[in-house]
């Protein structure tokens, strides 16, 4: 141990401000980088999931519409047959 007391440790032989500035800024920047990296990973995934759900919804809506159209067309085609017979 190089320091006699906690106060001596924080004072760093008169260089306390510079030493703790260095270590503080480094820790802060690295913590920020890790946080941002994890957040962008999560966000990217959420965006992909969102787009996937939106496309699914659109696809299903299109399918439904297509079914309805074919149904109504079939009805239109059937009606004249029914009236004549």
């Amino acid at each position: 141990m190089q320091f006699d007391s906690i106060n001596a440790f924080f004072a760093m032989g008169g260089y306390g401000f510079y030493v703790w500035l260095s270590y503080g800024v480094s820790a802060l920047m690295i913590a920020l980088l890790i946080f941002m990296s994890c957040r962008s990973h999560k966000k990217t995934k959420e965006q992909i999931a969102k787009r996937y759900h939106r496309e699914n919804k659109l696809r299903e809506a299109a399918k439904k519409q297509a079914e309805q159209q074919t149904q109504s067309q079939a009805e239109l085609l059937e009606e004249p047959h029914e009236s004549t017979s």
């Binding site: 190089q2 008169g14 260095s22 480094s26 920020l32 980088l33 890790i34 962008s40 990973h41």
Partner: protein, 247 residues
């Protein structure tokens, strides 16, 4: 060898492999950094000339040399991406740029905080400091180019060319202390033959240096996986993964 390597060029395999490696590298990094920095702050002796301000050395030197290391790694990835059109190489280059920028920034700030009590000034336009500042701008330029295009392939190409042109700055940083008269002191650790440090200063340095290396590997893996997902958003395996919401 190529047969053995081939599966790792598949984004899905690489994504899962890096996912499994991240925890182990994180533990290693935390252990090494804790040992190294506690040793550096509490137990390593003060420098006979610089006193306790010398403790800045244990983050200043790793961050400075590793920022150049990250740049070289990014340049190799950019070269692979441009020559062989490897999509994963491009993803890894994009992943490394912000990490390099942060470490370059740290080296500049810690350098300034060390320069103030030792040289009497926070900043001076000398060769080593100026070339390191240019390195920061190169990293920022690469990040900006990666984000400037909607098309990731085109963005990768533009950023890759800037990266390769900027490689010229690396030897300039490395040899600036020998080519020009500068305030910055010469190399301490990597001197040919014996490093000019006592062992009780060298050991904490080696621990924190290795810790920083693994820290960079971990963050690179995290960002690399994000890039893989972003570039393969239309693939089924990515969509399954995103919908399930697992890591």
């Amino acid at each position: 060898m190529w047969k053995w390597l081939h599966p790792y060029a598949k984004p899905e395999t690489t994504y899962h492999l890096t996912g499994r490696l991240i925890p182990w590298f994180s533990y290693l990094s935390i252990i090494l950094l804790t040992i190294g920095l506690v040793w550096a702050l509490l137990f390593s002796p003060a420098d006979y000339q610089q006193g306790d301000s010398f403790r800045i050395f244990y983050i200043h030197v790793p961050s400075a040399t590793l920022s150049m290391g990250i740049y070289v790694g990014m340049a190799i990835a950019a070269l692979c991406s441009i020559v062989w059109q490897l999509k994963l190489a491009d993803a890894s280059a994009a992943a490394m740029a912000p990490i390099g920028a942060v470490f370059t920034f740290i080296s500049l700030v810690t350098g300034a905080a060390w320069g103030k009590p030792m040289w009497g000034t926070w900043w001076i336009w000398d060769a080593r400091l100026t070339s390191q500042l240019i390195l920061l701008f190169l990293f920022l330029g690469v990040i900006a180019l990666h984000n400037a295009f909607e098309d990731k392939v085109m963005a990768g190409k533009a950023a890759g060319i800037l990266t390769l042109v900027g490689v010229i700055n690396i030897p300039i940083i490395k040899y600036s202390v020998e080519w020009w008269n500068t305030l910055h002191q010469g190399a301490t650790v990597s001197k040919m033959g014996k490093p000019s440090m006592t062992l009780d200063m060298l050991w904490p340095f080696i621990f924190s240096y290795m810790g920083f290396i693994f820290l960079i590997v971990v963050i690179t893996c995290i960002r690399f996986r994000t890039e893989i997902l972003a570039r393969n958003g239309m693939r089924q395996w990515v969509r399954d993964l995103a919908v399930k919401g697992e890591s």
